[in-house]
Amino acid sequence: MAELSVSTKPGNLLQTRRRVARTLTEPLWIRTLLTVIVIAFIALFLILPLIFIFAQAFQNGVGVYWAAVSSSDALSSITLTLTVLVIVVPINTVFGILLAWTTTKYRFRGKSLVVTLADLPFSISPVIGGLIFVLMFGDHGILGPWLLAHHIQLVFNTIGICIATLFVTYPFVARELIPLMENQGRLEEEASLVLGAGTLRTFFKVTLPNIKWGLLYGVILCSARAIGDFGAVSVVSGHIVGQTNTMPLQVQAFYDGYQMTAAFALSSLMSVVAIVSLALKSYIDWKSTRPE
């Protein structure tokens, strides 16, 4: 104790800067260089195009922009896209939750196969996503003659667009939920059941509050894709302007017709939706990692 209370310090005492050991990180110039490269890469491929969309959309002033987005072709494409959104997203949300619930709260053989198969629409070409429904429901398709005889048309109209969109957006909700629910395990649900709650009640009172942020993000991704899908919808739409053109298809129609301002004006609306989705995602990340 006596030795510890010595307060006079020796003259050769070294004052050293606080720093990180050199072999534990890269030299400053390398860190700076890498950071600059990454910022430049993201700026060139993401930020610049985003700015460009709005620059093009407003290049002839707000009046022209407004005229473009309120033209009848633009408005009918917006209406169609919203219709598809309202039909597709709720259905796939329900079935996405159901898939995640089935594959994480129960044990059964072939579970990982089911998860892999359900993820297929994510990794195959959207054009194939449209083609398969033409092969099923088109006039030359397997069910074609029967459908024709009963005057039922399931492709080249709004129904076809909805079916193809259901296909391409199917994995998004489950993709977000499965890892989340896997980590949470079954303990809380089992506790709820032991306390006498039924399966449905357990789901709404125990499971849902635990997954709400992941679910919200899944729904956002599902919606973004439902609005923006181009390949699959292209195949099954029939491309009738004012009737079966969704917003992305109308963008193409404007672009091919050299109506650049209109094309970019409509694009800017979808870009705003994309940016809002990203902001919501960041908010959800922040919210779900923050201690309650």
Partner: protein, 353 residues
């Protein structure tokens, strides 16, 4: 290789985690750095290894100033609590890593490296496991690999950061004895960080008690256990009963319990008595009434060779713990709710600030 630390201080923002640390470790000594979590013991070890730098002070390895030397120049072996094995490499590659990354001119030949790894595998008794991956080994085995890997570069000093902290009790005990044995073989200057006093006492030649960034006491295990310098050390090292009272005229008093102390000033005090330093008496054979507390048995833990008794003192909030040998216990024929007298063989009184 001796280690000397002079006036080492370090802080993170407003928190000073090391305050003017001075200590010397002799060549070949195994010293344990013992303290509660957050006491700064791991930071001190990291400063020694060069993973972090001190704000002030000097670090001397065998008299050479290495305060600001890079990690590599210190030639320290470091064993992490969670092993930090490279799990994409086999056990052999893990152990050989420090040799394989040497500059070409310093690097031993492939043949030499192989022989060295064989020796080390033998030393840590893991010869059959050389070609496995860390994930295929148990925790105790992994920690032995970590030790072999640290020894492969023939370090001048060995630093161990809670090396047995992640292992279960039985393996921990085995490894402790094994490490003691290993140290006797290699006689390398070693510093072991731990929060487990039993571990420190069993393994180390000397123990350094650290708390809130300051050294409280340095000594051999028996010195520290027998003569704790202050109430923190007394409390931290092993179980202890605390009896509160007042000090006046060179006497600590709690009811009829009176112990003479050196201090003549008026103050509040606490008497520390270890559970094994009580003798259980009947009213007839009390030898020194002033060192005796009346108490009632509330619980008996009858397992093991030492019987633990829980008692409650005359003032209701005074809980006491006493340990007696089974033979004593049988002779006394104690039962629950029985009133007894506890005579303290050894008491240490500290003033309360």
């Amino acid at each position: 290789m001796s280690i000397e630390l002079r006036h080492i201080s370090k802080s993170y923002g407003p928190y000073q985690i090391l305050k003017d640390i001075n200590l010397t470790i002799q060549t070949g000594e195994l010293v344990a750095l013992l303290g509660p979590s957050g006491s700064g013991k791991t930071s001190l070890l990291r400063v020694l290894a060069g993973l972090e730098y001190a704000d002030e002070g000097l670090i001397l390895f065998h008299g050479e100033d290495l305060t600001n030397a890079p990690i590599k120049k210190r030639k320290a072996g470091f064993v992490f609590q969670h092993y930090a094995l490279f799990d994409t490499m086999t056990i052999r590659d893990n152990i050989a890593y420090g040799l394989n990354v040497k500059r070409r001119k310093d690097r031993p030949s492939k043949q030499q490296i192989r022989e060295r790894v064989d020796q080390l595998l033998h030393l840590v008794r893991l010869e059959p496991y050389g070609d496995r991956y860390p994930s295929q080994l148990s925790g105790g085995q992994r920690q032995r690999v970590a030790l072999a890997r640290a020894l492969a570069i023939q370090p001048h000093i060995l630093l161990l950061d809670e090396p047995f902290g992640a292992l279960d009790a039985k393996v921990r005990k085995e490894l402790r004895q094994w490490l003691r044995h290993l140290h006797q073989q290699v006689k390398m200057t070693s510093l072991l960080v731990t929060h487990d006093q039993e571990e420190a006492f069993e393994v180390a030649d000397r123990v350094i008690i650290i708390n809130k960034g300051q050294i409280e006491q340095i000594g051999t295990p028996s010195e520290v256990y027998e003569n704790p310098v202050n109430s923190f050390v007394y409390d931290f090292i092993g179980n202890v009963n605390q009896v509160r009272g007042t000090i006046s005229d060179g006497l600590f008093t709690n009811g009829s319990f009176r112990v003479p102390v050196d201090n003549t000033e008026q103050a509040d005090g606490v008497a520390f008595i270890r559970p094994d330093q009580f003798a259980i008496r009947t009213p007839d054979d009390i030898q020194e009434a002033g060192r005796t507390l009346a108490a009632t048995v509330t619980h008996i833990h009858p397992s093991g060779s030492i019987i633990k008794l829980e008692l409650i003192g005359q003032d209701e909030d005074q809980n006491l713990e006493v340990e007696v040998t089974r033979r004593e216990f049988d002779a006394l024929a104690l039962s629950k709710n029985q009133q007894v007298f506890l005579e303290a063989r050894k008491v240490k009184v500290f003033t309360v600030n």
